[in-house]
């Protein structure tokens, strides 16, 4: 096995470069080394000016999403040896504005996330003194996989709809909304419906399915979206067919 591998890293210096330029670095090719280890090697020994985000290096904090050979990946969970003999092309996540080198701006997601109310909504909050809200393992299982989202943004990077339609809420935000909709303790589905069942919500999704394919945590945002479409469409048609009943329901939930 070769002892080194080439990383071709996208560099972008705002105000200096008009678009990213690729720069090559030779890094040691070692077993167990993730792409991230290669990048920190560059930062520590070759070029201190390279900027990228990272923290937990165990695939749970969601900081280090990058485009590796064209695919969105967590750079801490993608290994150099899998790409030998290289070169490995490392670029920032697609579909986001690039702030610097491999760092992208995710403010858009951070602004959209609160809009889907990703928290428990209840008409009456019981005092904690009364103990826990009961939830069976089966009820937990209903939403558990959607609670696994680490907000790493790989799904947004893989979503062509998001690249074309910047107003689209996007896979992770909708999956997190469904995480609460499907939680037996939550009563907020109706409050979330306005945002979810809007043209920028689930209806913009064409089920490309790449969000789920690239998710490092096995969340299925595409599935969450399709399930929500079915729920929302059924509800809408019920309201269309039985306007009086649904109006009464609506006025109650709004009141």
């Amino acid at each position: 096995m070769a002892t080194e591998i080439t990383l071709e890293v996208a560099r972008y210096r705002p105000g200096v470069d008009s678009e990213p330029v690729m720069q090559s670095y030779q890094v040691p090719l070692r077993e167990h080394w993730a792409i991230l280890d290669g990048l920190t090697y560059v930062k520590d020994h070759l070029d201190g000016t390279l900027s990228f985000r990272w923290s937990c290096r165990m695939g749970i904090c969601g900081s280090c999403g990058m485009t590796v050979n064209g695919e969105p990946q967590l750079s801490c969970a993608t290994f150099l040896t899998d790409y030998a003999p290289g070169p490995i092309r490392v670029e920032p996540l697609h579909n986001f504005p690039v702030v610097r080198d491999l760092v992208v701006d995710i403010d858009d997601f951070m602004t959209k996330l609160p809009k889907v109310k990703p928290w428990v909504v209840r008409e009456v909050q019981s005092p904690v003194e009364e103990g826990e809200y009961l939830q069976t393992p089966e009820e937990l299982d209903e939403y558990q996989q959607f609670s696994m989202c680490i907000n790493c943004m790989l799904c947004y990077s893989a979503c062509p709809v998001y690249s074309l339609e910047p107003d689209f809420l996007g896979p992770a935000a909708i999956a997190l909304a469904q995480r609460y909709n499907l939680d037996s303790r939550d009563e907020g589905a109706d409050e979330r419906r306005d945002v979810l069942s809007s043209p920028e919500g689930v209806w913009a999704c064409t089920f490309v399915g790449e969000c789920s394919a690239v998710c490092p945590k096995g969340v299925d945002p595409a599935g969450a979206i399709q399930r929500y479409k079915l729920t929302a469409a059924t509800q809408s048609i019920k309201e269309l067919l039985m306007p009086r009943i649904s109006r009464r329901l609506n006025s109650r939930s709004q009141g």
Partner: protein, 118 residues
């Protein structure tokens, strides 16, 4: 709230997905028989009398109308988004919507006319 109730998307999506399901279940066999097997002589085509009898059954006509209508709305919805995303033509949303769903409606009317006059 008004915005939500007036949005046609849920209805259009329901038509699209029903159409997708019906098309997946029914189109392959019909297309195989009439589009490939009979024309290339893999199987001998049924007689006119037999087909005419089958078609004359109101149930057949109802099913075929359902198939045609839903399949057309399936096409309309998917094709609309293919034009929006695949060719980035969303700026022409209005003519695209007219073309797609208008086409489907016209298709439904023609289908109804033809099936009623068998």
């Amino acid at each position: 709230m008004n915005h939500r109730r007036s949005s046609p998307e849920p209805l259009l999506w329901m038509l699209f997905s029903s159409g997708g399901m019906v098309a997946a279940l029914m189109v392959p066999i019909l297309l195989f028989l009439f589009g490939i097997a009979f024309p290339v002589g893999l199987l001998s085509a049924p007689s006119h009398a037999h087909l005419y009898a089958v078609l004359h059954n109101p149930l057949t006509r109802l099913v075929l109308f359902g198939l045609c209508a839903l399949a057309l709305f399936h096409w309309a919805h998917r094709f609309r988004y293919t034009l929006y995303d695949g060719l980035q033509l969303k700026r022409y949303a209005v003519p695209i919507v007219v073309l797609c769903y208008g086409g489907a409606v016209v298709g439904c009317v023609i289908a109804a006319g033809l099936l009623l006059t068998v």
